[in-house]
């Protein structure tokens, strides 16, 4: 049966499949291959697949964390290690917080009756419609000028004494500032996704749990949450990837110590020189964590979680 259907496929079918594969894998393959080339090879464009591979680009990219001296570099300008940690902290913390707040908000919106529920539910997604670029200017202003603790105040003074730096202590340039805006950006969509998952949890299950003596939080954490795990995983992948890849807001709100990997990559471009090899190598390194995260999280996406709960 399978053989006969395979045979009957039209050649055009394969053409389309091949095209799709090239479109999907092509850029990644290109990035991967170029990351092992010298800039000369990349720019000349003649060599194609025939070139002398080098790990020099990776050495340059990872110069601040490699344990040995790198011959071709006299000064390590690129702080990939630090940026990577920044990216990791920002993406993970914002993902976790978004999920925690998101699942509770979604649950409340689905299950509790309160005034303005439908309006809140409807407008959450509208916030998502606002392009991040629109947020950039007001948020930049607020983070730099409004959400600040005066350096002359006790707390502000304490922070300045402990961590150093000059001026008032502001949200801008901190991990928290970026995490906060990522949460705000991702929350509406996460709430929206999770709502549709929570709606599918049969109400009788919650009632059964209440009859079994569970309080509201126990109902939520022991019954509802395990059942919306696929939703949480989908939302986590989504949130993590956005936080990981985001460039615009991070470029404006981070400072030298808090910049993330995407911003680091662009730092390799100057008006005189574009270090393609290093950019490609950093790109490859940048792509690894989301791939691992997605593989891990997508394992949680199982259909039929609520099967067998209720009749029907």
């Amino acid at each position: 049966m399978a053989a006969s259907t395979e045979k009957s496929q039209h050649p055009a079918f394969y053409a389309v499949v091949v095209m799709l594969v090239i479109m999907a894998v092509g850029p990644i393959a290109l990035m991967f291959i170029n990351s092992f080339k010298f800039d000369v090879d990349i720019i000349s464009g003649t060599s194609g697949l025939l070139f002398m591979p080098t790990i020099q680009n990776y050495e340059t990219a990872l110069c601040d964390i490699l344990p040995y001296e790198i011959d071709h570099l006299d000064f390590c300008a690129l702080k990939f290690g630090g940026a990577f940690m920044n990216s990791l902290i920002i993406a993970l913390v914002s993902t976790v917080l978004t999920l925690v707040i998101g699942c509770m908000a979604a649950y409340a919106l689905v299950r509790f009756k309160f005034m303005g529920r439908d309006t809140v539910s409807g407008t959450t997604l509208m916030v998502r419609m606002v392009p991040p670029a629109v947020l950039l200017v007001p948020v930049f202003g607020l983070w730099n000028n409004e959400f600040c603790i005066s350096k002359s105040s006790f707390l502000g003074g304490l922070i300045r004494d402990t961590f150093g730096g000059r001026g008032d202590v502001c949200l801008a340039g901190t991990h928290s500032g970026i995490i906060l805006i990522y949460i705000a950006m991702n929350l509406p969509f996460v709430i929206w996704i999770l709502q549709s998952f929570i709606v599918q949890v049969p109400r009788q299950l919650e009632e059964a749990a209440r009859m079994d003596g569970a309080g509201p939080f126990q109902v939520f954490f022991k019954v509802v949450l395990p059942l919306i795990k696929p939703g949480l995983a989908a939302a986590a992948i989504f949130t993590f990837r956005i936080a990981w890849n985001e460039y615009l807001l991070a470029s404006a709100l981070s400072d030298r110590d808090t910049k993330t990997v995407p911003i680091l990559i662009v730092n390799n471009m100057s008006e005189f020189n574009v270090e393609w090899g290093v950019i490609m190598a950093t790109g490859v390194l940048l792509a690894i964590p989301p791939i691992i995260f997605t593989l891990f999280a997508s394992r949680q996406i199982i259909t039929g979680m609520t099967a067998g709960a209720v009749k029907g």
Binding site: A208, R210, M211, D212, A214, M305
Partner: protein
């Protein structure tokens, strides 16, 4: 002291009142069945007792303690749901022990309890299966097991068998009846199925449109229904109702309707003397009509057979008497043919008389 007492229990959804001042008492270790057609308020009553539905006014007492403002967990009740409501991410053992684990009971005690209950319900082989891997009957058993593991004083059942197929339902009904003999606890059972109600109940409470129509033992309700609704609701096939006028000629009283005229005996005359008007509704159970072609016209009804439903040993005839539909139960071997007009003797001792205006039973 009644175990559970409902006092003027009322439920309103906005301006719509669905439960009108229910008063009900349930004794300890009594199996009470709330029965009625869909939307009669029986499930709402149960859910209010459980604490899943708020009480609009009135009060619920459990062991003389007012509980209507308490959370379900503070009422110490166990409930079996219509749709099983098993936790799909837990296996059978975890499902049954959920309540005990919430109470942080010692591990040994939980294991012993699961062992005991699963043996009682024949679930020992399935303890590590997920609900999705169980059949409907097994799921229902797990749902019951979940209630049984808790040492609640009262068990609530919300139409627990209505999702099972007919054969399984009969089997589970019998199991439930046996279980009930072993577990001497207070049980409240909601169903729309009057056979379940009749077979399981110590006490049946018939409800209709938010009112209690009648309560009593199954036998009381079957033999002496308080009104036309209860009479028509209990018993299969349902009771026949005929609009009838009380007439008199000479000393004799007759029950006269469209196509029949029955001569009253002394007892019936006495009963009829309580009637509030000459117009009454006569109720005859299908089993109280006897096929008897030799019966005199004055004690029988002639019925034109429209349809015969063969069930096995018994057949149910659906007949017509001058435009009035009548059902008769008779032995299947009785030779009858569709379209025939047959004579059925009426057992006057078994007739029910209802007022036409109030629909209450007379006599």
């Amino acid at each position: 002291m009644p175990k559970i007492k409902l006092e003027n229990l009322t439920k309103r959804y906005g301006s719509l009142e669905v439960l009108h001042s229910i008063n009900l008492e349930m004794e300890d270790a009594e199996f009470t069945v709330l029965v009625g057609p869909s939307g009669c308020g029986k499930s709402t009553t149960l859910r209010m007792i459980a604490g899943l539905e708020s009480v609009s006014s009135g009060e619920i007492f459990i062991d003389d303690r007012a509980v209507s403002r308490l959370e379900p967990k503070e009422r110490d009740l166990a409930m079996v749901f219509q749709d099983y409501a098993l936790y799909p991410h837990m296996d059978v053992a975890k499902n049954m022990s959920f309540a005990l684990r919430l109470q942080k009971r010692p591990k040994k005690e939980i294991e012993d309890k699961i062992q005991e209950v699963s043996e009682m319900l024949g679930l020992t082989d399935y303890l590590h299966r997920k609900p999705a891997e169980l059949s409907g009957g097994q799921r229902q058993r797990v749902a019951m097991g979940r209630a049984l593991t808790r040492n609640s004083s009262t068990f609530l059942f919300d139409e627990p068998l209505s999702n099972l197929d007919a054969k399984l339902r009969t089997q589970m009904r019998a199991e439930l009846a046996m279980l009930r003999q072993r577990v001497q606890k207070n049980m409240i059972y909601v169903t729309h199925d009057q056979i379940e109600a009749m077979t399981l109940a110590d006490k049946i409470v018939v409800m209709h449109s938010g009112h209690i129509q009648q309560q009593g033992t199954p036998e009381e309700l079957f033999k002496k229904p308080a009104n036309k609704f209860v009479a028509g609701f209990l018993g299969t096939p349902p009771m026949n109702f005929l609009d009838t006028t009380i007439t008199q000629s000479g000393d004799q009283h007759y029950l006269e309707g469209n196509g029949f005229r029955l001569l009253c005996d002394h007892t019936t005359e006495k009963r009829l003397s309580f009637a509030d008007s000459k117009e009454i509704v006569l109720g005859i159970r299908p089993s109280d009509l006897y096929f008897d072609s030799d019966a005199p016209a004055e004690s029988a009804i002639d019925i034109n057979v429209v349809l015969s439903e063969y069930i096995g040993a018994q057949s149910v005839l659906i007949g017509d008497c001058n435009g009035q539909k009548l059902m008769v139960e008779l032995k299947s071997e009785t030779p009858i043919a569709l379209g025939q007009t047959l004579r059925f003797r009426v057992n006057l001792d078994a007739i029910h008389i209802f007022s036409k205006s109030t629909e209450l039973a007379i006599g």
